[in-house]
């Protein structure tokens, strides 16, 4: 838009110059977005989708969200190795709302033993918000033993607070 406008009264030659210059920049931005998306897109899956292997994720980095089972949390402080299990929760906000809100959904997921579950492994500092019925949003990959190795771990505890608090741990 700016280009058209400024070029409106400009002589044809410099107009061409500006249009080419502008196009170069636009191309550069599009190229950056395209390649970066390709390189770092992560599938957002539910525990069901992941455990049933309904989507072929290969060794791609994926994001998965689930309800933390408090009893399964184990932390080896010597090696900073954290393991726990998460149970399936719906991935869709509308679905969560329909089932009575996030707190209800998380509670139901933890109580219901028939839900599919996955083991999670995380190397690093134990996050403060990790507890029973917290929602864990994890980024990482499945290993050959069917354990989800999380690189990044985000937690939400809607049971306690209306307001969100960022709790983030980044692993190396």
């Amino acid at each position: 838009m700016a280009l058209n406008q400024t070029a409106a009264k400009t002589s044809p030659r410099s107009r061409v110059k500006f249009i080419i210059g502008g196009l170069l920049i636009v191309t550069a931005v599009v190229y950056l977005i395209f390649t970066s998306t390709q390189a770092s897109a992560q599938y957002f899956l539910t525990v069901d989708e992941l455990s049933q292997k309904s989507v072929d994720v290969g060794s791609r980095e994926i994001r998965v969200s689930g309800a933390v089972l408090g009893d399964t949390i184990q932390y080896d402080a010597q090696n900073l190795l954290l393991t726990f299990e998460v149970a399936h929760v719906p991935g869709d906000n509308a679905e969560i709302e329909a089932q009575g809100g996030l707190a209800e959904v998380l509670h139901a997921a933890v109580v219901d033993t028939s839900r599919s579950r996955i083991k999670v492994e995380y190397h690093g500092v134990m996050p403060d918000l990790l507890r029973n019925e917290a929602q864990a949003i994890m980024t990482g990959r499945m290993n050959e033993n069917g354990v989800f190795v999380a690189q990044e771990l985000l937690l939400k505890c809607p049971t306690k607070y209306e307001e969100a608090v960022p709790e983030q741990a980044e692993g190396g």
């Binding site: 406008q5 550069a28 970066s36 500092v125 990044e152 960022p166």
Partner: protein
């Protein structure tokens, strides 16, 4: 009682606002001063009304009336009084009221200015402000009412409602849930209001832009009138962003400051479009170019401000900030869509009147480089927008939720930020109208030669990564060019007027605050870039478990664990506090006290790092875990964050520069006087505020 009073005031605010809109439109159409005056009074009345609403909420918060759901959600009896007051913006419903309060305060302040020459703008500025206010107040009344209470119905069930259901009795919980401990940090108490102040201030330039479009007074008067508002909006938004980063660094305990979280991005997007706007209005003022583009930018900024408020306040995206899920999402989208469409329609209607007065010839002229600056800012904005919307888009088309994380943003914005940094150095040297490689080269070869010393110093200090050389050189080059600009200005005054160096510097900056304030901001950006390069490229970390007396090292630092104290505090915390001695190359540097506080009321721990902070680096020690009884070992995580303090220092310089630029000018500045509106601009300068 107070709840009903507050709710009543809220409803009256809505009615007064709707009346104000009708009166303003009618007054403008009929050209009736009386009706416009009435609309102005309505606008002014909204401020005391919403103040009453806010005061009611604060009263309920401070007195701890837990029957009110909002009070129950955000406070508890152990919280100190200042936290109870600031809990006004601790939750969704209160935040919306706070937003409305700020908006009505700012809009009222604007309507109190002298309107002599801009009378035709007044009704339309009121309309825009009040329409925005009606949206927020309406949302508060119908969807996010802060005054809803708990009731026990006759059947014994719990109910949440504004008014007492038939046969119900009051239900008052014994205590509230309390504000999350992580939010009980000074940075977190002022961070949301700063962001909101920034958001709300951008409504004012937008209101004037719309007024200009509706009235057809499409010269640059609206820009001159709102210049200071734009700077103020930008100042608060910047402050909000910097404070948020600092809070993350101090409290979240992951050694970082920015996580490309969707909500951070939501606050960042209006900052990007606002920054582009801030730059390109200068071209309109000086050269009469980019008129349509400026309109597009301010319309976009307004939409992004609403979008930002919405993102932080809905569950639309999987963000760490947005915990609250409610029905207001579609309404926000509807409102953004409608206001955006109407604004664009108005713009198209005035499309021909907004023709550029001049033309651009040279690719290296100041105006062309400003255009490039705008394109780069827009490029970063598009990247952010794409990153935020990509999950929604991909789900729409493939049914599969796909998200992009921080690596996406880092990869795609990195080169754009670097280009902006370079441009920031070069652009101030180019001339209006026409510049060539030769004139530019002449202006900057000295700083360029001098800047070559920077990579050499970096090499001597042990830097080996090729990208780091480029990054450091870029910072040095831009800083030197900017300082050289000061030097040239001061030297010229010294030669011409015989002023001494300090007087010359003072007068130079006083004469052209926006320009030299802008250069200070640029220097601040360079310093921030230095800090970001330091932490992004050179951060190292280690972790380990050590017994009392044991040691661990990171780089040239060694920390030894002296002891661990565990005790209770009066305000309901259990504190585990480690004492750690720090050495560097065998030289003792003192002690650090990383600790973990456990809040009994909210059953939540909070990790507070022990940080040794110097301009060279931060040693950031976290207490991760400990063996409760035998204390055979305590686990620490240690980060080494080189140069990170330059980020905060740069933030200060940046804010200082903005203050210099925004400070009211006493003397009329030289203005561009094209033949068409010579009379208007030269007479309008004095009252430009």
């Amino acid at each position: 009682m107070v709840s009903n009073f507050g709710f009543g005031a809220l409803v009256i605010t809505l009615i007064v606002s709707i009346y104000g809109i009708i009166a303003a439109v009618y007054g403008a159409r009929k050209n009736s001063l009386a009706w416009v005056e009435s609309a102005r009074k309505a606008m002014l009345l909204t401020f005391p009304l919403i103040s009453l609403v806010a005061l009611s909420i604060i009263y309920l918060l401070v007195t701890g009336d837990y029957q009110v759901q909002y009070v129950y959600n955000v406070t508890s009896s152990t919280m100190p009084i200042y936290l109870k007051v600031t809990a006004l913006w601790g939750g969704q419903a209160g935040s919306l009221i706070f937003w409305s309060l700020l908006l009505s305060a700012f809009a009222s302040a604007v309507t109190l200015r002298k309107w002599d020459r801009d009378r035709e703008f007044l009704p339309w500025v009121i309309v825009v402000a009040l329409v925005t206010l009606v949206f927020f107040v309406g949302m508060s009344i119908f969807f996010e009412n802060p005054f809803v209470r708990f009731w026990q119905t006759a059947g014994g069930a719990e109910a949440v409602a504004m008014f007492k259901p038939v046969g119900a009795t009051n239900l008052t919980p014994f205590d509230g849930r309390g504000l999350n401990p992580l939010l009980r940090h000074p940075g977190m108490i002022i961070h949301p209001p700063m962001l909101y102040l920034g958001f709300v201030s951008f409504v004012i330039p937008f209101a004037f832009a719309i007024a200009a479009l509706v009235t057809g007074r499409t010269d640059d008067r609206w820009i001159r009138v709102t210049r200071r508002w734009t700077l103020v909006a930008w100042l608060f938004l910047s402050l909000g962003l910097v404070l948020g980063s600092r809070w993350a660094y101090d409290v979240l305990g992951w050694g970082g400051y920015w996580a490309w979280d969707p909500v951070e991005i939501a606050a960042f997007m209006p900052f990007l479009s606002g920054t582009a706007f801030l730059h390109s209005v200068m071209i309109q003022e000086k050269r009469g170019l980019f008129k349509r583009w400026n309109m597009v930018l301010i319309i976009l900024t307004y939409s992004l401000v609403i979008f930002g408020t919405f993102l932080t306040r809905s569950g639309v995206l999987s963000s760490v900030h947005a915990f609250s899920q409610s029905a207001i999402g579609p309404l926000f989208f509807g409102y953004i869509g409608i206001t955006f469409a109407i604004s664009l329609a108005l713009l198209l209607q005035r499309w021909n009147a907004l023709r550029s007065e001049g033309e651009m010839h040279s690719m290296l002229s100041r105006e062309a480089l400003f255009l490039l600056n705008n394109l780069l800012f827009m490029g970063i904005l598009v990247v952010c927008f794409w990153g935020v919307l990509f999950p929604l888009i991909s789900e729409l088309f493939t049914g599969q939720k796909v998200t992009v994380g921080p690596p996406f943003y880092e990869r795609s914005t990195g080169p754009l930020f670097a280009a902006l940094l370079l441009l920031m150095g070069v652009a101030p040297l180019s001339a209006w109208g026409h510049s060539t490689v030769k004139t530019l080269g002449k202006a900057m070869w000295k700083p360029f030669i001098a800047s070559l010393i920077v990579p050499v110093i970096a090499y001597v200090l042990g830097v080996r990564a090729p990208m780091a050389f480029v990054a450091f050189w870029l910072c040095g080059f831009v800083a030197l060019i900017t300082l050289y600009e000061y030097y040239r200005g001061v030297a010229a005054r010294h030669r011409k007027n015989g002023e001494n160096v300090f007087a010359a510097l003072w007068n130079l900056m006083g004469r052209n605050r926006r320009r030299y304030g802008g250069y200070i901001i640029h220097l601040g950006v360079v310093l921030m870039a230095l800090g970001i390069i330091g932490i992004e490229m050179f951060q190292t970390e280690t972790q380990g478990t050590i017994p009392p007396g044991g040691q661990m090292s990171l780089g040239s630092y060694t920390i030894s664990f002296d002891k661990l104290d565990i005790f209770d505090t009066a305000d309901g915390r259990n504190v585990a506090r480690a004492v750690v001695s720090v050495e560097r190359d065998g030289k003792p540097l003192g002690q650090l006290f990383p600790r973990r506080d456990y809040y009994y009321d909210s059953q939540q721990p909070m990790t507070i790092p022990g940080v040794r902070s110097t301009m060279e680096d931060d040693l950031y020690v976290l207490l991760v875990d400990w063996e409760p009884i035998s204390s055979t070992g305590v686990t620490f995580k240690v980060y080494h964050n080189p140069l990170v303090n330059w980020l905060w220092l740069g933030g200060f310089v940046f804010i200082f520069g903005t203050l210099v630029a925004a400070w009211p000018e006493k003397e009329p500045e030289p203005v561009r006087v094209p033949a068409v509106n010579r009379k208007m601009t030269s007479s309008g300068v004095q009252s430009a505020d």
